[in-house]
């Protein structure tokens, strides 16, 4: 950590030209990774990350630089170099850094540093055993464990000075089921803003491992998915990735401010079925995407993005707020000191509706039930999205029928939102890593079971 005096010096050095804002972001992170394969511990690695990012801005125009040097001369030089992008007289900002505020919203019971490495790798062995014992067709299991303590300090020329510590852990199980015909894999990766208590108080390691095997085994005996346009019932939990990709990214100021998003200028307008209320909430205690402060040093918030189908709020960071003349929602996030912050999602979900899961299935004559979604991507300009279905079933005559594999859902975010015609009452969230302009960050996705009246389903079986 750098001294407050040095931080002030860096901030001042950045303001020696015509810039009107400077920011220092310091990151100190300690991470442990362990992996198991073929029932053996393959790798255990500690890593120490330390670096300083400096941002200098005039209006919404900014420049960014970073280094892992802790030396005063290097840091002041970096700030001075960056300042050269804004030639002219100093604007004469006078400020003092406030007393450092320390984020402590999310209680941690057992810090990873207080847990022995043996105890951590034991989780891998337990998960491996449970995943293999699930079924004899499970032939390969890979398990990864990760924990980290990331402490960041953010200081800026508005006087902001905060420290925030993020403690996160995740266990990821990948089971492979095989027979003479094919191999199929199943994935489950629970995580949270927790210490090691996550594995005793929050999840059951064996159950999570069996879930990965269950998916692999089910998909091994699944038929190829037919293709065509049909109603799709997307289950709760990771099903929320559809909203994250297809709509969430287009509501980030990163694309809205430049006019690159389909939702630019649509605040107050109907952009979704009236059954849809969507929320991005960075304050949920101990959730995977939560933090007390964002990476620009402001308190995380709960943002109602869409209320009963009406666009209510974007996710906005400081500089994009200036660019689009809208109030920031404290949505500035970044993977590490190697990235300038920009507007990003935290824990994003569709809120509960009124239907039960059973009602939604029963109301569907023919369609696809996407129980587990895989990943996907979206083009924010056109809104075109694609998602892989990790575990799917056909729905016939209002009942869940045979399992199908290899399905991909494609569509346009704005159209899919309008076509949501049933929303369940069983909201559940799941963990993911989201990659975008400011790197890869932990985000929760979530939703209750929903039905979209029509989506293009791509499968290898051809059309029925």
């Amino acid at each position: 950590m750098l001294s407050k005096v040095l931080i002030k010096k860096i901030l001042d050095a950045a303001l020696t030209t015509n810039a009107d804002f400077s920011e220092v972001f310091i990151e100190d992170k300690f991470q442990t990774d362990a992996s198991l394969l073929s029932s053996k511990i393959e790798n255990v690695n500690n890593s120490k990350v330390f670096g300083v990012g400096v941002r200098v801005a005039k209006g919404y125009r900014s420049v960014y630089g970073y280094t892992n040097s802790q030396k005063e001369e290097d840091l002041v030089q970096l700030a001075t170099d960056l300042a050269q992008s804004f030639p002219g007289e100093p604007v004469g900002l006078e400020f003092e850094l406030e007393e450092m505020k320390v984020g402590s919203l999310h209680k941690i019971k057992r810090y990873p540093s207080d847990v022995s490495i043996d105890e951590k790798v034991d989780l891998l062995k337990r998960a491996d055993k449970a995943a293999r014992e699930y079924d004899e067709e499970i032939k390969q299991v890979a398990v990864r464990y990760q924990d980290y303590v990331q402490t960041v300090w953010v200081a800026n020329s508005e006087g902001t000075f905060v420290q925030d510590t993020r403690v996160r852990t995740r266990l990821a199980i990948n089971s492979v089921a095989m027979n003479d015909e094919t191999k199929q894999s199943g994935f489950n990766g629970p995580g949270g803003h927790y210490g090691f208590e996550f594995y005793t108080d929050v999840i059951n390691v064996e159950e999570e491992a069996r879930e990965a095997s269950r998916i692999a085994k089910t998909m091994l005996h699944a038929d190829e998915c037919p293709s065509g346009q049909m109603p799709v019932v997307i289950d709760n939990g990771f099903g929320g990735v559809i909203f994250h990709e297809a709509c969430g990214h287009s509501l980030e100021a990163t694309s809205v401010a430049k006019g690159a998003s389909v939702f630019t200028g649509k605040k107050g307008q109907k952009i979704a079925s009236e059954l849809v209320t969507a929320i991005d909430d960075g304050t949920i205690p101990n959730a995977w995407g939560s933090a007390e402060y964002d990476d620009e040093g402001n308190k995380q918030q709960k943002r109602v993005l869409i209320k009963d189908g009406i666009l209510n709020s974007y996710m906005i960071d400081k500089l994009n707020g200036l660019r689009m003349n809208d109030t920031p929602t404290n949505s500035g996030r970044r993977e590490s000191y190697k990235y300038a912050p920009t507007s990003r999602m935290t824990n994003t979900y569709i809120a509960n509706g009124e239907s039960t899961f059973e009602e939604i299935i029963a109301a569907t004559e023919y369609g696809l039930y996407a129980k587990k979604m895989g990943g996907g991507s979206v083009n924010p300009a056109s809104g075109d999205f694609n998602f892989a279905v990790g575990e799917g079933y056909m729905i016939r005559n209002g009942k869940i029928a045979e399992p199908v594999r290899g399905a991909t859902l494609v569509g346009t975010g704005s159209e899919a939102l309008m076509k949501v015609d049933m929303v369940g009452n069983n909201l559940l969230t799941a963990q993911g890593m989201c990659g975008s302009a400011s790197g890869s960050i932990p985000t929760d996705v979530g939703q209750p079971t929903i039905r979209v009246s029509e989506i293009t389903v791509g499968g290898r079986k051809g059309s029925n």
Binding site: K40, N46, G65, N68, D81, L82, A340, S382, G458
Partner: protein
């Protein structure tokens, strides 16, 4: 950090052999949007990765704080890590090869000789060029980025290897709109010779990609003959690389297991791993384990000749490492060898088919274990050798190995993606398309 001191402390605490991998990186990036500098970023960072053998197990650690204060932390972490490993695989610190090929031109001074101001001006000009090409172009992001990296490997067996390289990229991201439909295009070039960059060409390619897709709609579902463009083909090869890794083969998660000597692709397909290619950051004479790299054709005229190995997998299979020990196993410059057919002739030769120019979601819609894929695609519908209209929001599905077997011709337009995985355009007998 004083490495001699590190080696001494490690030895004292019972570490049998130790290797440091030190990498340093300087980057400069600019992005222009609406004639203003949208992004300007400068950085220097370094990372030290250390591995050591303790009681016959390999412990590892990494740190970005590289000072003498960290020596005890590094050594203790290696020991703690090694103690928990129960994999019985033999581990190695390599004493080095007799000879290493000298790869010329990895570091080109021209990138640093050109001033930052000139690079910014050129990027601004690039944006202007795109906007001037077509009035339907609504928005352009032009970017330039360059990076210089230094690598040092040093170990207790006396090996010491160094590499210095640089690379730059110029590119554009283009949004075009006709009032009702909005489409995007991306185009870029990579090199470490500043005069190689043809900005007009990049501008034209980016603009054309976006504008020509305006009004794209799905086509009818069915089986189509496919022309997979160089960009689309290299983006599909990427997620299937693990098939060629000996690690996947030994874990029984590769479709290519037991297929050496067999015909796995059309005789027109040859797949190369070339560590000596000029102007690529992936090129070099040694891998992360210090093993000499080599040129190899993993698939020759459709026949699988072998896998990519590091020291560990090579020992298991009783072969020599192929010099692909890059953080596990990874290729260097990996590509499908170009053929002789021109892209235009390939289009003319199609009676009814689809040109696939872009595949989205290749990280999620593929399954390298089974080879099955189902991906969102866009491109053009072709009838009687002519492009009829743009197509979007369809999916193409198939199996990667089946597709390689169904390749009927290979074009001459080899193109590399950002991670130096490359392919020419491929003509494919058929894939299942889902649209209307």
């Amino acid at each position: 950090m004083n490495f001699d001191k590190l080696f001494a402390v490690a030895k004292e605490k019972g570490i049998e052999d130790l290797q440091v991998y030190y990498s340093k990186n300087n980057q400069f990036e600019v992005e222009v949007f609406k004639n203003e500098l949208e992004k300007y970023s400068i950085s220097d960072s370094a990372r030290l990765r250390v591995k050591g053998i303790y009681e016959s197990k390999m412990g590892t650690v990494s740190t970005e704080v590289i000072t003498d204060d960290m020596i005890d932390f590094v050594v203790d972490s290696i020991i703690a890590s090694a103690k928990t490993i129960d994999s019985e695989d033999e581990v190695f610190i390599y004493e080095g090869d007799k000879e290493y090929v000298t790869v010329e031109g990895l570091l080109n001074p021209s990138l640093d000789e050109v001033e930052a101001k000139k690079k910014i001006d050129d990027t601004m000009q690039l944006e202007k060029s795109v906007l001037a090409l077509d009035e339907r172009i609504r928005m352009v992001q032009a970017f330039y980025g360059q990076s210089t990296s230094n690598v040092l490997i040093q170990n207790s067996k006396g090996l010491k290897l160094e590499k210095e390289s640089n690379n730059a990229v110029y590119g554009v991201y283009v949004i075009a709109s006709d009032g009702t439909d909005q489409r995007t295009g991306i185009a870029y070039e990579q090199s470490n010779e500043y005069t190689d960059f043809d900005l007009e060409k990049i501008a034209k390619e980016g603009a054309e990609k976006a504008v020509s897709m305006l009004g794209a709609k799905p086509c009818d579902s069915g089986e189509y003959e496919i022309l997979l463009t160089n960009n689309a083909s290299s983006s599909l090869l990427g997620p299937h690389l693990s098939m060629f890794s000996a690690e996947s083969v030994q874990r029984d998660v590769s479709l290519l297991k037991g297929k050496v000597g067999q015909q796995i692709a059309s005789p027109k397909i040859t797949i190369v791993d070339d560590p000596f290619m000029k102007k690529s950051t992936k090129s070099g004479s040694f891998d992360d384990e210090g093993v000499a790299t080599q040129y190899k054709e993993l698939v020759k005229d459709g026949e699988l000749t072998g896998y990519l190995h590091n020291l560990k997998t090579a020992k298991k299979d009783n072969v020599r490492s192929t010099g692909n020990g890059f953080g596990g196993i990874a290729p260097t410059n990996f590509y499908v060898k170009p053929g002789t057919l021109s892209y235009d002739d390939a289009v003319k030769s199609m009676k009814k088919g689809l040109i696939i120019t872009e595949l989205a979601g290749t990280h999620s819609g593929t399954n390298p274990i089974s080879g099955d894929f189902s991906l969102q695609a866009s491109g053009y519908l072709v009838e009687n050798g002519e492009i009829v209209r743009p197509v979007a929001l369809i999916t193409v599905a198939g199996n990667y190995l089946t597709m390689l077997q169904d390749v009927t011709d290979v074009c001459d337009d080899l193109k590399f993606g950002f991670s130096f995985i490359g392919s020419p355009s491929l003509k494919i007998k058929k894939l299942v398309v889902s649209g209307n």
